[in-house]
């Protein structure tokens, strides 16, 4: 194993380990902070693959904005500071869906791993220093992949408008004659 492979494996282990801690910790805020560690390790893995741009965008968007949003959401709840009491059937951190969630997670992981192993196990990408910089990424995004990119932006726009409609209580459904 080369040094890069060792570091990559370690980063992967940190990412998976902290991700497991996210769902098993008994302290809600720690879950969000372990998520920071997980995202950070993922950004490190991107860096090792020379995808600098994706790595820093990962930190900017996920660590800087998504986790802050999560923490903001947690602060709006009645989550106590410190450990949640472990209480039998009405444990606040437990859910009847945990086995279904586990099954979905394992199935997703299985599909992804199968696809990767079958489709790309013998594909070797030669990593160049400039390979994942902003320039090649922008060029391929706006030339080769411009259609999926635009479709995604329409999807995000729809979600944004949906959020606005949901949060505006003064926009109600139309009545029979089409008036509001």
């Amino acid at each position: 194993m080369t040094a890069q492979e060792v570091v990559f494996t370690l980063l992967g282990a940190v990412a998976v380990g902290s991700a497991i801690l996210v769902v098993t910790t008994r302290q809600l805020v720690h879950a969000a902070l372990w998520l920071v560690v997980s995202f950070g390790a993922l950004a490190g893995a991107y860096l090792l693959l020379t995808a600098e741009f994706v790595a820093w965008v990962q930190v900017l968007i996920y660590v800087g904005a998504v986790v802050v949003l999560l923490l903001f959401g947690i602060m709006l709840t009645r989550a106590p500071i410190g450990r949640m009491p472990r209480g039998g059937p009405d444990d606040p951190l437990d859910s009847g869906n945990r086995w279904a969630a586990l099954a979905v997670a394992l199935a997703t992981a299985g599909v992804l791993i199968t696809t990767l192993v079958h489709g790309f196990s013998d594909a070797v990408i030669d990593l160049k220093a400039e390979g994942g910089g902003a320039e090649p990424l922008g060029a391929s995004l706006f030339r080769t992949w411009v259609l999926p990119f635009e479709v995604l932006s329409v999807l995000l726009l729809a979600a944004l408008i949906g959020a606005i409609v949901l949060s505006r209580t003064d926009i109600g459904p139309r009545d029979r004659e089409g008036r509001r």
């Binding site: 720690h30 902070l33 820093w56 800087g64 949003l69 903001f72 602060m75 910089g133």
Partner: protein, 318 residues
């Protein structure tokens, strides 16, 4: 290798000295703007050693952690608030020809991403203190970051578009004097959004001392509190440095750019830091709704306008 070590030592020295200089300037400038003298005794000459004396006092104070606090997070928070600003300085160029510790090709994104991490420190502090004022402060910090991060990134993107590169050194190299009027809106948006991200007055809703004691820092004392204060001053230095590099031409000056480039950079950084202090003395604190209105109704549209303007001029010139 030796060059890198020398640069890192210089960076550490700058990080130790510049925030303290800004802090001392704040004491004196605020005092004179309010028709008082400010610190006059420590160090004999116009109280120059006031912050050193403060530091000695902070170190001697008792290290208190509230009983109900989340101890580990409580102790970790000051470091999370301070260290990102040190890391940002790594990519900020102060002069031409490699007078930068690390010239990253995506330096701009690196700086913005790492700067955003510092805010998590304040939120951690707000949560872990087990104090309702701290919790309210932490929520305000989070709400403020979410609204002001967007215009800040958009304004920075405008400078990157104008230069055609994401490297901070590259942006300064491309900079010409007529960028000043061209990127003026972007510069103002970036600076104002940066102030809000640093929670400096008039955006100090999260630490509003007249309503929620001192927000997320309410339960902190001694050295940890000093680290939060230091983080605020380091934040001023970083914001001023980034504004200088992106919008004011960094090391470019009227003469001797190669020899005195670092001096021009420092001069601009200190001029901007002065403006930061000046704003603190001049404007009353914005209320939460005014704060959100300023971000979403003014700064975001203005930064989009700047992006459009940059794009049009760029295409017209090409």
């Amino acid at each position: 290798m030796l060059e890198l070590v020398v640069k890192l030592v210089l960076l550490a020295a700058a990080f130790a000295v510049l925030p303290l200089l800004v802090g001392q300037t704040e004491h004196k400038v605020m005092a004179h703007m309010q028709a008082r003298l400010g610190p006059m005794y420590a160090g004999a000459f116009h109280g120059w050693a006031q912050l050193v004396a403060d530091g000695v006092k902070f170190v001697q104070k008792e290290d208190v952690v509230p009983r109900a606090a989340d101890r580990r997070i409580f102790k970790l928070a000051p470091a999370v608030a301070l260290v990102p600003y040190l890391i940002v300085l790594v990519v900020v160029p102060i002069g031409p020809d490699g007078q930068v510790v690390l010239d990253l090709r995506v330096g701009l994104f690196f700086a913005l991403a790492v700067m955003g991490v510092g805010v998590i420190g304040a939120i951690m502090a707000g949560w872990a203190s087990a104090n309702k004022y701290a919790l309210l402060g932490g929520m305000r910090v989070a709400a403020q970051l979410m609204s002001y991060e967007l215009p800040m990134v958009l304004a920075a993107a405008s400078a990157a578009m104008a230069a055609g590169t994401l490297s901070l050194t590259g942006i300064v190299e491309e900079w010409r004097w007529w960028w000043l009027p061209w990127q003026a809106i972007g510069a103002v948006v970036f600076f104002v959004a940066g102030l809000a991200e640093l929670r400096r007055p008039p955006f100090d809703m999260p630490v509003a001392d007249s309503e929620i004691v001192f927000g997320p820092y309410t339960e902190y004392g001694g050295l940890r509190f000093a680290l939060f204060l230091l983080a605020e001053y380091a934040g001023i230095v970083v914001l001023s440095a980034l504004t200088t590099v992106l919008f004011l031409g960094g090391w470019k000056g009227p003469f001797l750019e190669t020899e005195l480039g670092w001096l021009w950079t420092l001069l601009k950084v200190f001029a901007l830091s002065f403006v930061v202090i000046w704003l603190r003395v001049s404007y009353p604190r914005l209320r939460e709704d005014q704060l959100q209105r300023l971000a979403w109704a003014w700064l975001v549209p203005l930064s989009l306008l700047q992006l459009a303007l940059t794009g049009v001029v760029k295409v017209a010139m090409a």
